[in-house]
């Protein structure tokens, strides 16, 4: 099984890597945001803490980048393959579905790690962000682990949308939600109505994990954030499994 997994993962990686709309955007957009928004005020210290805006924004963009990779790489690739009927052909091959799934997960994690490998040095060099080694590490592992619910969300979107609508759906929902979750500027600067909703958004809870890792002040405890994410994870997985089963019974029964 291992040679098959290695080959399949390599193929899945190339499939995404060779699409600049995905690979370049995933790797470069967070840096572009950081350059425009983060660098200018990088050394400013946030009210009521000793954390710089540069560090806060690094955490935000790490969360943004990784959740983005998960949703896009699963959402769009699943929707596109369904649209192109690639799923029919793959179904007729002896490739075990588990290998297929694992290869995609590994690819997504590799891409997510790549975005951090680009973002972290950029924040260090251009934003002058200085953190303890432990903080860098905590930020990285929390961001990777906390992205799991977004894998499920990506799958759910992929099975529920068509190939054209998937891109639209994700783009229309993702960026505004990122704003509403306080990823681009602290929650306090958002309109009151949105401030009331943000604590319930999964990206907000995800963001909290990151901000806490760099030492920025957060409401409630990290455990609460994890609980929210786990809860969202369960809901997204349930939706993804339901959508997958619906697809099975329509196409393959």
């Amino acid at each position: 099984m291992w040679p098959m997994l290695v080959r399949q993962t390599r193929a899945e990686f190339l499939k995404l890597w060779r699409v600049p709309a995905f690979s370049a955007t995933s790797l470069l957009l967070p840096i572009v945001f950081y350059a425009f928004i983060g660098i200018g005020q990088a050394s400013q210290v946030l009210q009521g803490s000793h954390v710089t805006f540069g560090a806060y924004f690094l955490a935000s963009m790490s969360v943004y980048a990784v959740a983005n990779v998960m949703i896009f790489s699963f959402g769009i690739s699943v929707a596109t393959e369904r649209g192109m009927k690639t799923d029919l052909l793959m179904r007729a091959t002896p490739l075990p579905p588990l290998v297929y799934l694992l290869s995609r997960c590994i690819t997504a994690i590799v891409f997510a790690a790549l975005t951090l490998a680009v973002l972290f040095p950029f924040a260090y060099i251009a934003g002058g962000v200085r953190l303890e080694a432990e903080q860098w590490f905590t930020l990285a592992y929390r961001v990777l682990l906390g992205s799991i619910p977004f894998i499920a969300l990506g799958f759910a979107i992929g099975y529920l949308s068509g190939p054209n609508s998937a891109v639209a759906v994700i783009n229309l929902i993702y960026l505004p939600t990122a704003f509403a979750s306080g990823l681009f500027f602290p929650k306090q600067l958002l309109p009151q109505i949105i401030q009331n909703i943000s604590p319930y958004l999964p990206l907000y809870r995800f963001g909290q994990l990151g901000w806490d890792a760099v030492g920025a002040p957060t409401s409630e405890s990290v455990s609460t954030d994890w609980l929210y994410l786990i809860g969202y994870g369960i809901v997204f997985f349930a939706i993804a499994i339901w959508a997958y089963r619906r697809e099975e019974s329509r196409k393959f029964s």
């Binding site: 040679p3 098959m4 080959r7 399949q8 193929a11 190339l14 499939k15 060779r18 699409v19 393959e81 192109m84 009927k85 690639t86 799923d87 029919l88 052909l89 179904r91 007729a92 091959t93 002896p94 490739l95 075990p96 393959f252 029964s253």
Partner: protein, 292 residues
């Protein structure tokens, strides 16, 4: 003899539509079979059941005596589907290699690519292939695993005459390797050229299952065609004809006594032009069998 693929009293309903009605099919190893039928006859449904892509509503589908979704069964089978897709951003050589890795004893990569005539395109991305080249890629993917049984569902649809001709040669080459081939088509020449056994299927039921020559002999031997404006079936009453089609003054029929039929038509005062008398081929047999 082991049955390579079987349908045992297989019925398939999509909602209220019965696509297959209690079909019995046995394909032995080494068979070269063409499933012939008009659109909607149940050809693709039969293949889907045999490949485990769909489950029968009742009855059974077996591949090498196993459930078709079994990985062991699937690893002996190569498939070219009517509705199919491949990742656009991989090279031809990469995707052939990928599919080869799914099978226990694949063909060498270059051999599979050569069998499909894609040597020049081996390093091109899939998205750079033309329609015909993409069909050939699907063929390469179907044979690269060196399967015992090759399923091809309408493989030459959309190809021009030359493309179809050379494609049939490729399929024949594969069949000559001693493999089992199951081909569905509505192109009668393909069935005639390739198959040692023709299964005619219409409206979910098998209506004939025999070598091509035998099927041709089941229907009257000569095809008569002519143009006669303002003519209808009455003018052929009592004559030994079958499979009569009359359209815009063009008449076509099958008969074993073409001379007698023509004599009768002249006696009945029918004005005929553009007369053609030829041997009935599989197309005529097919029309005769599926006409309602």
């Amino acid at each position: 003899m082991t049955a390579a693929a079987q349908l045992i009293d297989a019925t398939k309903k999509y909602g209220s539509v019965e696509a297959l009605k209690g079909v019995r099919l046995d394909i032995e190893l080494g068979d070269v079979v063409a499933m012939l039928g008009p659109n909607g006859a149940g050809k693709t449904t039969s293949i889907s059941l045999l490949l485990g892509l769909r489950k029968p509503t009742s009855g059974k589908a077996l591949l090498f005596g196993m459930d078709p979704t079994n990985v062991l069964a699937r690893s002996r089978v190569g498939v070219m589907l009517q509705e199919s897709g491949v990742p656009q951003m991989l090279k031809v050589s990469e995707i052939v290699d990928l599919f080869r890795s799914y099978y226990p004893n694949p063909l060498p990569r270059d051999r599979a690519i050569a069998m499909a005539g894609l040597e020049e395109k081996a390093n091109s991305l899939v998205k750079e292939l033309s329609g015909g080249q993409r069909q050939r890629l699907y063929f390469a993917l179907a044979v690269c695993g060196n399967p015992d049984v090759l399923f091809l569902d309408e493989p030459t649809v959309g190809m021009d005459v030359e493309g179809r001709r050379s494609f049939i040669e490729r399929i024949a080459e594969f069949a000559h390797m001693g493999k089992t081939v199951v081909l569905t088509t509505h192109y009668l020449e393909e069935a005639d050229q390739l198959a040692r056994r023709v299964i005619v299927i219409d409206r979910g039921v098998v209506i004939a299952d025999a070598p091509p020559a035998e099927i041709k002999s089941k229907v009257a031997g000569k095809r008569v065609r002519f143009v006669a404006p303002a003519v209808d079936e009455k003018v052929l009453q009592g004559l030994p004809v079958s499979a009569v089609t009359i359209k815009d003054g063009s008449v076509q029929l099958l008969t074993n006594q073409p001379e007698a039929v023509l004599r009768a038509l002249f006696q009945r005062g029918v004005e005929i032009s553009e007369l053609e008398v030829s041997g009935a081929d599989l197309e005529d047999a097919f029309i005769a069998l599926t006409q309602h």
